[in-house]
Subunit: 333 residues, 2 copies
C-alpha cells in the first residue's frame, strides 16, 4: 500500500527544477506539521519547533531556531500566529520567508495574513498556502494544489523552489485578502453542505449550495477589498469541492454531526472548539466584521449551529428567499 | 420509503403561488419525460408524445397535439430537436412556450437553444432548464435547481407558474448562450473527474480539476459570445458539482469505466453512443467549433477517450503545463 502510494507520488510531482537546499523552521508538528515534513524532508534541512500544550514547555528556543532560516512555516492554527511572529520578528534574516497554511481566524478576528503583514511590516516577506491539500491525502502521496497568496513575485518563485520535487502544485495569487477570506469561509460553508447531505436534501442540493456559497463568498471577498474571482480559485472553489466531498473531511463531518444533535445537547458549543469554520463565524459576529444581514448563507450556518434541530426545515426559508430574490431581481431589470 | 420522500418533497417546494392550469405537451417519455411527469402531474393537463425507436411509429399525431398547448417540453436528447421543432412550428399558438432540458448537441453541432431559436425565429418563446436536477433524485422527491435560460422575462414568469407547487427551484438567466455551453461542457468534464477519481489521483485532485474545468468553461463561454460568470451558475458549477459527486451519476461512471478499458477495447467508440459529453466533444471537433489548442482540458478528455490507457499518467503533462503556465503568466506581469 505504502509502496503504491509512493509510486503515485513520484508520478505527480510538478516539473519545477531546483537544487536549492534550504534551512526551514516548521512551527508545529501536529497534522499540518507532519504534512510539511512529508513534502519537504530529504531535500531540505528541517527543524521543528513545538510547544507542549499541557505544560507550555517548548522543545527548542524559538528565537534562536528562527535566526538562520530561509523559511519559517506556520503549520499550526491561526490563534498563536501573532505571538510567534512577534517573537521571531527581530531574529529572522532579511531574506527569510514566512509561510502559513492556517485557515482560520485568531481570537481577535484577524486572518493569519493580516497578522503576518502587521508584524512583519510593509517589506515583510510572507505567503499563504491555500487550496485542496488535505493532510491525510498529502501524507498518502496524493498531490496537493494551492494558491500561494503573496504580493511579491520573488516570494512566489522562492517558495516554488522550496517545494520543487514535492507533490504540491502551486500557483501565484496576488490577492492575499481574497485567498485569506476564501479559505476561512470555505470552512464555514462546508459544514453546511455536510448538514444538508445528512439531512437528506439530496445530491442536487449539494450543487446548489456550492453555487450559492461561492456566490456569497465572492461578495464577501469584494466587501473586504479582495477580488470576486478569487472565490473561484483553488483557495475557494477548489478547497470547498474537495473538503465538501471527501469522506475523511473533518469539516464535512462537523456538519453531519449537527443534524443528530438532540435538544438540550451542547452541540453548538462543542462545535466551537473543534471547528475552525464555526470559530471564524463567531469571530465575524463578535467583531462585527461582516453585516450578516447581507449574507443569508452565513446566517443559516449561525442558525443551525445555535439551534441544531430540524436542520432540514431550516433550509426551506433560505431556499425560498434565494429564489424569490432571483425573481424580483430580474423583474426589476 | 415513498411516503417519506413524498413528505420531503412537500417540504422543499418553492413558495411561488399559482392557480394556473396549463395544457402541456411533453415530448418523450423516457427518464427525462418521467421527471417532468413527476414535477407537473396533478396540477396540469399533460399529454405525452413519444416515438417507438424500433419501428418509428408515434403514439399520437404530433402536430395536432401541439396545436392547443400552453407549453411544449422537449424532454428528449438534442438530436431530434430540429425535426420536432420544425414539425410543430406552424401549429403551436403564439403564446405557446417551448422548453428544453436537453444537455447535448445535435448531429450538426448545434445546441438545443440554437435549434429552437433558429426554428421559432426572433419572436419565438422558448427557455432552457439547466442545473442540478438528476432525474432519479427528482423522482425520489428531492428538490431540483436550475437556471431558466431565456431572454424574455415573461417566458420566465410563465414558466415559474408552470412549476409552481413542484420541488424545482428556478431562477432567470438571460445568457442563453452561456447556460447552453455550460451544461454541454459539464458533461464533457465530469467524465474526466470520474476518471481521475478511479485512477486514484485523490480528493485534492477533484477540487483542482473542478476549478480548472470551470476556468476553461468560462473562457469557452466567453469565446462563444456568452458571459464568463455563467460558468459559475447552477447550469455550470452547480450541475458539475452534483454530477461529479453523485454516486448514481451516469456521466461520472462513464469516466470511471474509461480507466478500466483494456488495450484494443473499443471503449472510446462505445462511449460515443452512451455519453452526451463525448458526443459533444466529437461535434466540437468535427465542426471546428472551438480551437482545442486553447483548451487543454478538452484536449485531455479527447486524449483519454481516444486512448484510454495509463489514464493516471495522462494527467501529468496537463498538470505540469497548467502550473508552468501559471508561473510564466505571473512572471510576465
Amino acid at each position: 500500500m505504502d509502496k503504491q502510494y509512493s509510486e503515485d507520488s513520484r508520478q505527480f510531482v510538478p516539473e519545477t527544477m531546483s537544487n536549492m537546499r534550504f534551512a526551514v523552521l516548521v512551527l508545529g508538528h501536529g497534522e499540518m506539521g507532519r504534512s510539511m515534513e512529508h513534502l519537504l524532508s530529504g531535500r531540505h534541512a528541517l527543524t521543528f519547533w513545538e510547544r507542549n500544550l499541557e505544560d507550555g514547555s517548548e522543545n527548542i528556543p524559538l528565537e534562536q531556531a528562527a535566526a538562520q532560516k530561509d523559511f519559517v512555516i506556520f503549520a499550526l492554527p491561526a490563534l498563536p500566529h501573532a505571538e510567534l511572529a512577534e517573537r521571531i520578528q527581530a531574529h529572522i534574516s532579511d531574506h527569510c520567508i514566512c509561510l502559513s497554511i492556517a485557515k482560520g481566524m485568531d481570537e481577535q478576528g484577524r486572518t493569519p495574513a493580516a497578522v503576518l503583514g502587521g508584524v512583519l511590516g510593509p517589506a515583510g516577506r510572507f505567503g499563504m498556502i491555500y487550496g485542496p491539500m488535505i493532510a491525510e491525502e498529502v501524507r498518502a502521496g496524493h498531490p496537493g494544489f494551492a494558491e500561494l497568496g503573496t504580493t511579491q513575485s520573488d516570494v512566489y518563485e522562492r517558495t516554488r523552489e522550496l517545494f520543487a520535487g514535492a507533490p504540491l502544485y502551486l500557483r501565484h495569487n496576488t490577492d492575499v485578502i481574497g485567498v485569506s477570506w476564501a479559505v476561512i469561509l470555505k470552512n464555514v460553508y462546508v459544514p453546511l453542505l455536510g448538514a444538508a447531505e445528512e439531512a437528506g436534501l439530496g445530491d442536487n442540493a449539494r450543487g446548489f449550495l456550492a453555487t450559492a456559497a461561492l456566490e456569497e463568498m465572492a461578495r464577501i471577498i469584494e466587501s473586504r477589498g479582495g477580488r470576486r474571482e478569487t472565490a473561484y480559485s483553488l483557495a475557494g472553489l477548489g478547497d470547498l469541492v474537495t473538503t465538501a466531498t471527501s469522506t475523511g473531511s473533518h469539516h464535512r463531518q462537523v456538519g453531519r454531526d449537527l443534524v443528530h444533535c438532540a435538544p438540550g445537547d451542547t452541540c453548538g458549543t462543542g462545535m466551537n472548539v473543534h471547528s475552525e469554520g464555526i470559530h471564524s463565524l463567531n469571530m465575524v459576529q463578535r467583531f462585527g466584521l461582516l453585516d450578516l444581514e447581507s449574507f443569508p448563507l452565513l446566517r443559516l450556518v449561525r442558525d443551525i449551529v445555535n439551534e441544531p434541530r430540524d436542520v432540514a426545515a431550516k433550509f426551506r426559508p433560505f431556499l425560498d428567499a434565494s429564489f424569490a430574490d432571483a425573481a424580483s431581481r430580474n423583474t426589476r431589470d
